[in-house]
Amino acid sequence: MAFENYNTEKIPDELIQENGSPRMGAKLLIDQLNSMSMDEIRNRQQAMDRSLLHMGITFTVYGDDSGTEKIFPFDLVPRIVEAFEWSHIEAGLKQRIKALNEFINDIYHKQEIVGDEVLPRDLLEKAKSFRHQCVGLNPPGGIWCHVTGTDLVRHSDGAIYVLEDNLRCPSGVSYVLQNRMIMKRTFPQVFAASNVRPVIDYPSRLYSTLSQLAPEHVKDPVVVVLTPGIYNSAYYEHSFLAQQMGVELVEGRDLVVQDGSVFMRTTDGFRRVDVIYRRIDDDFIDPQAFRADSMLGVPGLFDAYKNGRVALANAPGTGVADDKVIYAFVPDMIRYYLGEEPILPNVPTYVCARDVDQKYVLSNLDKLVVKAANEAGGYGMLIGPHSTAEQQAEFAEKIKEDPRNYIAQPTLMLSRVPTLIEDHFEGRHVDLRPYVLYGKEGVWVLPGGLTRVALRKGSLVVNSSQGGGSKDTWVMARNAAEAAENETTM
């Protein structure tokens, strides 16, 4: 009995209730695991690890010259999301993306949200990722953020909160698809019986979102994925998405701007490109418009974009909403632009640029999580309860020196999911990143997502660069029809 001694320790668990019995959607899976010996379970985990290695879904360990490669750890116990809860998440994400898109369009045009004093002007002007080059831009259909990967967490109060929006180049969706493929091989019976909603049509949805961006007169648009190259940690994903969509994967050096249009170098000469799904940050896409030292970009690309000769997804300039100070205003944006109450709450956020907030933060550093406004990947962070007095003093200095660059949030107790640790299961903290596409036909949320798990005991940092792994995410269907909705495309 694999779960005989499993203890939730009174921390919310996505699969197991406090009394030790499985939640409704998890029953089949837990029964299956309980019917297996631990040896058998470990064998399946090892088989999964081997197939990841063989598929080459690996990253190189930095500083190791012998070329050792590791897989991103993938745990065999999935996170399960009930249908009713997913409806709530889905509605909340759709609302949020619409408001964020309105916001981005507004700040690069009339800036009404600033004029109406919902967002203080100086906070916007000091956002490092605000791109003055984008002022006045009109992306096709008024859509700026075509692909989003929003980070969600469940706190000990049981509610789901939005932690980050990730409007630039969110990565991880390839793991969602690969993890699912491997899980289907590992637990075929449970899968068939559980009514799990499929994720397989993400690439075709993405392709149609992208191809709609082409200028209307282009009948058969050429779509490409632009990658920084094989040394980028998400390279595998860039290549996977290009392959799954059946489009070219290009690097900056493959593209050239001539007569105002973008072309790629082929063995048969130059070929025109209509839509670029760029996986390179704004800063690097065009050395003439943004960072002059960029070796990854394409000179003249931004001009071609401004003139409507090529479409970019996401639009340049969307990164402004990833600024953690701007994030604090998203609930206000939802009220301001949509006249609705936010469905998914923000994590309460103290903006150090406000005197009252700063005062509170400085006297509660041991309880709060402090984050730099423009860092990602778990860097530039102070986790109060796990920090030393020196670290707190250091952050106090930083905050006083540059209050605009810091926000603070209460320490959240992320929910957990049973995870295979050596020869038994233990709870480990997780977050959830669903993926959202925004195209001409509206907003679509992939029924699934990347569940990241902090593998170190007690750790709340789920980033892969800091000892995190991943899990499959099973979104349960309301009925069999919903589970089968896309089976035909598999």
Binding site: L53, H54, M55, G56, G67, G229, I230, Y235, S239, F240, A242, Q243, E248, L249, V250, E251, R253, D254, V256, V257, Q258, F263, M264, R265, T266, T267, D268, G269, F270, P299
Partner: protein
């Protein structure tokens, strides 16, 4: 197809083929030594000569023996044409184009690489070594077969085919050249068992022994030369390789065989014609070594022309010169 992608496919295939040929040389040498333990010390120097990298080898290892040659040609990460280095380059190239080749092909090259890495630091017995090289060869066959069986036979496949056939033509001619040179002193002993053993080893190294037997039965030097250079139907003979490469080149450009529209087609067509009208006795009379030397120079010219024609597409706006940025020089 993107120029960069075509370049990577071409080199991916070349590097796998190069690794396979090295494995073949060593496997056959080990077999000869099993038959003739006394000759062991003669057998390793020619392998180094066949790579054309004898200078690098001598600087690092001095006199060739079984251990240092096997290490150098198989595992040495600092020698850019060792089997291990070839596989690393092949895989890096494959990684940049994994959306273009089939997932199965990527998985195979990846598996080949991990398998090779797992052997890097082991001491192996003679039996284990023989088995190791045989398996390396089979890995390469599997890769080649997967490419043929799972890839669209369009432009991408033709670039891969071009790469592997040009590499194979180069390697077959080199092994012949070196063996011919080292066996010359025994030419007077034509027909002795030792001589037969040596030449049959050469034939075996290109999987050609049985086919040769069927066609010619007795081993004579001119016939071996004819078989390895001029044979049209034997898949490792130089002529077979060049004709296949030429067909792929024309499939890529769309121009009919027998005419040329670019430098690569012109150079390869000339080389193909040379072989088509060559006579083995003439080749031997004028010097086999000179013939092979010239062949290799011309193969390099073809390689250069392929690069200029398909990979180095330059825009009139940007005058940047793009050189072969990966470690891809053929020697």
């Amino acid at each position: 197809m993107l120029s960069r992608v075509a370049n990577s496919i071409y080199w991916m295939a070349r590097y796998v083929e190069r690794a396979e040929n090295l494995a073949r040389y060593i496997e056959v040498t080990l077999n000869v030594i099993l038959d003739q333990p006394d000759s062991a010390h003669h057998q390793w120097a020619p392998l180094i000569l066949a790579t054309g990298d004898e200078k690098t080898f001598t600087e690092r290892h001095g006199k060739p023996n079984s251990q240092n040659v096997i290490h150098f040609l198989t595992f040495d990460p600092d020698y850019s044409n060792s089997i291990k280095s070839c596989l690393t380059h092949a895989r890096e190239n494959a990684r940049t184009i994994r959306e273009t080749i089939s997932p199965e092909a990527w998985e195979q090259i990846n598996e080949f690489y991990h398998w090779l890495r797992s052997h890097s630091n082991q001491k192996m017995t003679l039996e284990q070594l023989t088995d190791f090289y045989q398996r390396a060869r089979m890995h390469s066959h599997l890769f080649s077969g997967i490419l043929d069986a799972t890839m669209l036979h369009g432009e991408g496949w033709h670039f891969a085919n071009l790469g592997r056939l040009i590499e194979r033509a180069d390697k077959t001619s080199r092994i012949l050249d070196v063996k011919y040179f080292t066996l010359l002193p025994t030419l007077s002993d034509v027909g002795t068992t030792i001589d037969d053993l040596q030449w049959s080893a050469v034939l075996r190294s290109v999987s050609g022994f049985e086919i040769y037997r069927k066609r010619f039965r007795a081993i004579t030097v001119p016939r071996v030369v004819e078989f390895l250079i001029l044979e049209r139907e034997f898949p490792r003979a130089v002529r077979f390789c060049l004709e296949g490469a030429d067909r792929s080149l024309h499939a890529i450009s769309g121009s009919p065989e027998g005419v040329f529209r670019n430098l690569a087609e012109q150079r390869l067509g000339q080389l193909r014609a040379n072989l088509a009208y060559a006579d083995v006795q003439q080749v031997i009379n004028n010097g086999l070594h000179e013939f092979v030397d010239e062949l290799q120079v011309k193969l390099n010219d073809v390689d250069e022309a392929i690069y200029e024609t398909f990979f180095a597409i330059r825009s009139p706006v940007q005058s940047q010169s793009q050189s072969q940025s990966q470690t891809q020089s053929s020697r």
